[in-house]
Amino acid sequence: MATTESKQKVGALRHIGPIIRKYWARYLAGILILAAVDISQTVIPGIAARVIDGLSSFTATKHTLLLALLQIGALITGITVGRYFWRYLIWGSARYIEQEVRADLFSKYLDLSADFHDVHKTGDLMALVTNDLEAVRQSLGDGLLMIADFFIMTTFTLVAMLRFNRSLTLLALIPLALIALFVMRVGPLVFKLFKNVQDAFASLTDYVEEAMTGMRVIKVFAREKDVTRGLRDKAAGLQRRNILLIRLWGLTGPLIDLLGSVSVLVLLWYGGVLVTRGSFTIGGLVAFNTYIGMLAWPMAALGQAINLFQRGQASLARINDILDQKPTIQELPDACALREDMRGEVAFEHVTFEREGHRILDDVSFHIAPGERVGIIGPVGSGKTTIVSLLTRAYDPSAGRVLIDGVDVRRYKLADLRRAVGVVTQDVFLFSDSLEENINLTDLPVGEEEIHEATRQSDIYANISEFQEEFGTIVGERGVTLSGGEKQRVTIARALLKKPRILVLDDALSAVDADTEKHILDNIAGVPSRPTGIVISNRISALRQMDRILVLDAGRLVEEGTHSTLLRKHGWYWRVYRRQLVEQKVEGE
């Protein structure tokens, strides 16, 4: 039994254990200091009791009073210093552990493959590094402290109290124990009610968000009054649940107050009677009152600590689940380097790719010679982007092989492969950093001239020069908002800067006008190293100058040829071409 239990424990701490171990000495020192502080605290009431009893028996003098003052002063000084250090040692360690776990989670997020990110929402992953990590930290900081403090404080205070009077101690302790019991019992209930409030708030937020987004419809149909009625419902629901929560949670403060006061009452009544019998002293009463005050907090904290640990455990389990995951795309142990002087030849051999039972690519084969420029066109969902994903090993094919320079991409070192292929993705993504950092994503030193060159090629240099901060301009939420076309051109510069042997533009020119499109494509064609080019687009204007064009439909390669041979076929490509021609004419008027 014991072994399975300990195994489970090791299991829960499988990731966090080694990190905690690094800080055990700090924890130990912190707890020792805490113990010293707690003991010192229990000494003070004793001194007060001695003074008061000395006063009533005429043994106290000005001198003994001063001595007591100095003693207490010395203890306070020690306690104050000690408190500073245990905070630092115990809470500080929890912060350091938090930092390390956060870094581990972040690394894991970056390392896990596309299939993981396809099914995990950003919000859920964020919840782990915010709420769950916080719960774990609280267990390791406050939780541990409360437990340690409870045991140390209770033990020493009880010893001190028992020395005064046994029966009074036991009697005064009963209401205090009830505090711990109450917090322990009510804590989870309060937590549940609190969750209910959060749910109601989330539901209100959803409603408001939807109403605000659809406000035009609401106004156009003059439905304001009815929509307000819905808001009233949601807001009233939130109000109701908040009041429900306070009906229970509101008990906590007054009840702890009451139970603490009951302890004082026991002291007053039973202790008072004991004094009249001569078996207790007024000094003792004063000391006991202080002890009761000192015990009330650890008692409440004990209940709270247990709740914290429960929550922390659940959160840790969720964190462990993620840290357990392994990337599905992995480098082979004997992976070879992709040499600098690679040719840039691409081949798909009977590639089939399936996801969740859907066949996205169906036996696709083609070959692209080094330096050749190939266009890919096809309706939405025909599998164009998947070709790029397989080439860069975001996924591996279900069947068939993807080759670069005649070697299966799975045999290359992953980082080498991805560095060799420059991809401009369909959905532009810029980080909220400076333009320079967005263009040069690597940490390799890149000359200013190279960055300028890349931005000139992608026809964005002039726009950037117009910004006051030029390349230092911050983009995104906290900075300048770029237009869709500008963003696309920045991402193209980003890919060009890599000087890739294989360059892929995945619908990367959809937001720029026809002239710019042509300009950029010409620039790219003029790059002296002549990388192999794959241009995915739905605009014929972007594809007509390609050496060869592949037409995809429903995951199959349906047409293939140059612009002119494809037109002669009078197929899908031809129809699209005719439509776009007129479109252009209309827009041009």
């Binding site: 003070i44 008061i52 992953l125 605000m212 659809g214 149909f221 019998r277 209309v586």
Partner: protein, 709 residues
């Protein structure tokens, strides 16, 4: 996501105008607030009373001895003492003279002499107690000439008081002593019962007060929320165009939530803490002004300490929160852009950058901890120091006979509560500040002028015919950028026109003017011969149905989406419309009209969503129908149904169509070609084709598009 990315620091310094505006929302609840005020007075009274009860119990019952007097043993000293102490401060007991310590010390000091005295503790039986015990019994001891009982009247004690040397108590037998103290035990019991009653009442009062305040706070928040939401609903389209909906959502949700704590806690707690501080101070001054001054000095130190540390702790805290915000947006952004990170194989670089901000955050947290680690222990050290000082000075007072034990204990109780209000007020102030920040943002929205729903020029008469006429209409959304430049045309009642032209020509803008979504710069838009600028928006929008290009589906049932939140949707009517429009798919769905649609209608096809928007437009039986046709790809299956449905919804209504589809245009009587805010061609389909202008090109484009499908 927005919540995670924008963890902005929200604080604002105190602003009386804002506060006054905020307090106005509390006015309807003055009665409940008054109740709470009374309850808080009761709670404060309890907090002040309990230490007094304990002090009283000690002085009167638990230890009714007094050390106020000293004994002088030799007749020579007694003679010297009698010369300097008045008769009311001395008495004789069993042949020895006893003197009030303070008076004796003062007298001897003035006279420049000294006497030898012995400290004594006297056990005092007050007249009431003496009566309860049965005076004759105690008299027995007096009559037996036992040396330790003294009976009034003497000037020092009230008549009927019995006094004995406390040390002599031990000469009684245990049963005698129990008898003697039985009155004290009874006294302790009654004070304890009083104590019990008070804490039980205080428990109830505390709990009720907490709930009452929460109810008030929640109701106020509810009121503000509904008011703000209604206000946003009435803001003009112009405002909605330039304000991100996410911002408005945050105002109605999070910002208002930030006010809840202010109403239910901060305001009242500040009042409570003020009461407590003043109340305790007054009572303490009455008990012993010197000790109170000592505590005041410590309190001043406490306030000073709080003032010094609060600012730096708040700044450190703010910095830590900023760091956390940065960490969270960094992570969120890398998760969203994980594809880019992996494509560029920059995982290691990102991890390194993260390391840096991660460490920064820990450092910021540790700084908060460091400051708190100095501040909080210092504050509690001050409280303990105060206890020690009370003990020291109080002890000296007791030695001098100027203080009773009960009062000393009362003071020691008070010390425990005297310093709390300062810390709490400091905390409440933080709550107030963040509430201020939110309030400012909320009021900024509330101060936006609402759309004019019922124009002052409205004379109560609404048009009965529904023909539409544009007369030289100019429109600009932003100053200087004219979208429409002199649009004039007419649509007869029941007639229809189509608007065609390239993207951005102003087609949609024209249609928006009929239900007065925007106000024209110049020119007039007439509905049934009446300028829409003089008609109530409600009338216009009820009679002019607008089918927008991108259909907005709310999460809820199909019925709710058709009846658009109507309180009691007419299911029969909705079913009729669904059948009429040939929306067979509804019948195939689980629950039919009650089928639940997800946010944005993700569980429907684009065509199905389009049909729902048609049904929505027909539900209120509009007289005018404006259709902004969808351009998005629609599955072939729905296409035929949609074309049929369009013909049906237009039948018999004055209609304007922003057309993208050939088949729709053909059925329309007249076509307006719009470009750059002007009407450049108009006529029937055939006329325009013959002309060979823009329309001809558009027509070709469309026939090709449809051929492709």
């Amino acid at each position: 996501m927005a919540g995670i990315n924008n963890e902005e620091v929200q604080e604002r310094s105190f602003d009386a105008t804002l506060m006054a505006r905020l307090l106005r929302f509390a006015r309807p609840y003055w009665a409940l607030l008054l109740v709470s005020f009374v309850l808080i007075c009761l709670l404060t009274a309890k907090t002040i009373a309990l230490p007094l009860i304990v002090g009283r119990a000690i002085d009167d019952y638990i230890d009714p001895t007094t050390t106020r007097f000293v004994r002088v043993d030799t007749p020579e000293d007694a003679a010297k003492a009698n010369a300097v102490v008045a008769g009311t401060y001395r008495f004789m007991l069993n042949g020895a003279w006893y003197y009030d310590k303070i008076e004796l010390a003062r007298g001897l000091h003035l006279a420049g002499t000294s006497v030898r005295t012995t400290e004594v503790s006297l056990y005092v039986v007050a007249p009431v107690k003496a009566r309860q015990l049965g005076i004759s019994h105690l008299d027995l001891y007096a009559d037996a000439a036992r040396p330790f009982v003294f009976r009034g009247p003497q000037p020092v004690f009230a008549p009927g008081t019995y006094v004995m040397d406390a040390a002599s108590l031990s000469r009684f037998t245990p049963s005698e002593r129990a008898w003697l103290r039985s009155v004290d035990v009874a006294g302790i019991r009654s004070l304890s019962l009083l104590f019990l009653a008070i804490i039980l009442v205080a428990f109830a009062v505390g709990y009720i007060n907490r709930v009452v305040l929460e109810v008030v706070g929640q109701r106020i928040v509810y009121d503000i929320r509904v008011k703000l939401f209604q206000h946003v609903e009435r803001l003009p389209f112009n405002f909605l165009d330039r304000t991100p909906s996410g911002r408005l959502t945050t105002r109605v949700t999070n910002d208002i939530e930030a006010l809840a704590d202010m109403y239910s806690q901060a305001l009242i707690n500040i009042v409570r803490d003020g009461f407590l501080l003043v109340g305790v101070s007054v009572v303490m001054f009455n008990l012993n002004s010197f000790l109170t001054w000592v505590l005041m000095a410590v309190l001043a130190g406490d306030i000073l300490l709080t003032a010094i540390f609060r600012v730096s702790i708040r700044n450190a805290h703010r910095r830590a929160r900023t760091c956390l915000g940065r960490i969270n947006s960094f992570i969120a952004e890398r998760i969203q852009g994980v594809r880019i990170v992996q494509l560029f194989a920059i995982e290691d670089k990102e991890k390194k950058s993260f390391q840096r901000i991660n460490q920064e955050y820990t450092a910021a947290r540790l700084r908060v901890m460091l400051l708190n680690g100095i501040f909080r222990p210092l504050v509690s050290a001050l409280a303990t120091l105060a206890t020690a000082l009370v003990l020291y000075y109080g002890g000296a007072n007791i030695l001098a006979g100027a203080l009773s034990f009960g009062t000393l204990v009362t003071f020691m109780f008070y010390v425990q509560i005297f310093f709390q209000p300062v810390q709490e007020v400091a905390e409440q102030f933080d709550t107030l500040q963040s509430a201020m920040a939110s309030a400012e943002k909320i009021f900024r929205i509330m101060d936006e002028p609402e759309e004019v729903y019922t124009p002052s020029a409205f004379d109560g008469k609404v048009p009965e015919s529904f023909d539409i006429e544009f007369q030289g209409v100019y429109l600009s959304y932003n100053q200087g950028q004219e979208i429409l430049k002199g649009i004039s045309f007419r649509v007869e009642q029941g007639g229809s026109i189509a608007l065609v032209g390239p993207t951005g020509a102003g087609k949609t803008s024209i249609t928006g003017l009929v239900p007065r979504l925007y106000n024209v710069d110049s020119g007039r838009v007439l509905l049934g011969g009446v300028d829409v600028a003089t008609l109530p928006a409600e009338f216009l929008r009820r009679n002019v149905a607008f089918v927008m290009q991108d259909v907005f589906i709310f999460s809820g049932s199909i019925l709710e989406n058709i009846a658009l939140f109507e309180e009691h949707p007419d299911e029969g009517r909705a079913q009729e419309i669904v059948d009429y429009l040939g929306m067979d798919f509804v019948g195939r769905l689980d629950g039919g009209l009650h089928y639940h649609l997800y946010e944005r209608g993700n569980n429907l096809s684009a065509g199905q969503r389009q049909l729902i928007s048609f049904a929505r437009a027909l539900y209120f039986d509009p007289k005018v129908l404006i259709l902004d046709e969808a351009t998005s790809n629609i599955d072939t299956e729905s296409e035929a149904v949609i074309q049929g449905a369009i013909r049906k919804i237009l039948a018999g209504r004055t209609s304007m169509i922003v057309a993208h589809r050939l088949s729709t245009i053909r059925t329309v009587e007249r076509i307006l070609v719009v470009q750059h805010g002007r009407i450049i061609e108009s006529g029937t389909h055939d006329e325009l084709l013959a002309k060979g202008g823009i329309y001809k090109n558009l027509y070709e484009l469309q026939s090709l598009s449809e051929g492709q499908a």
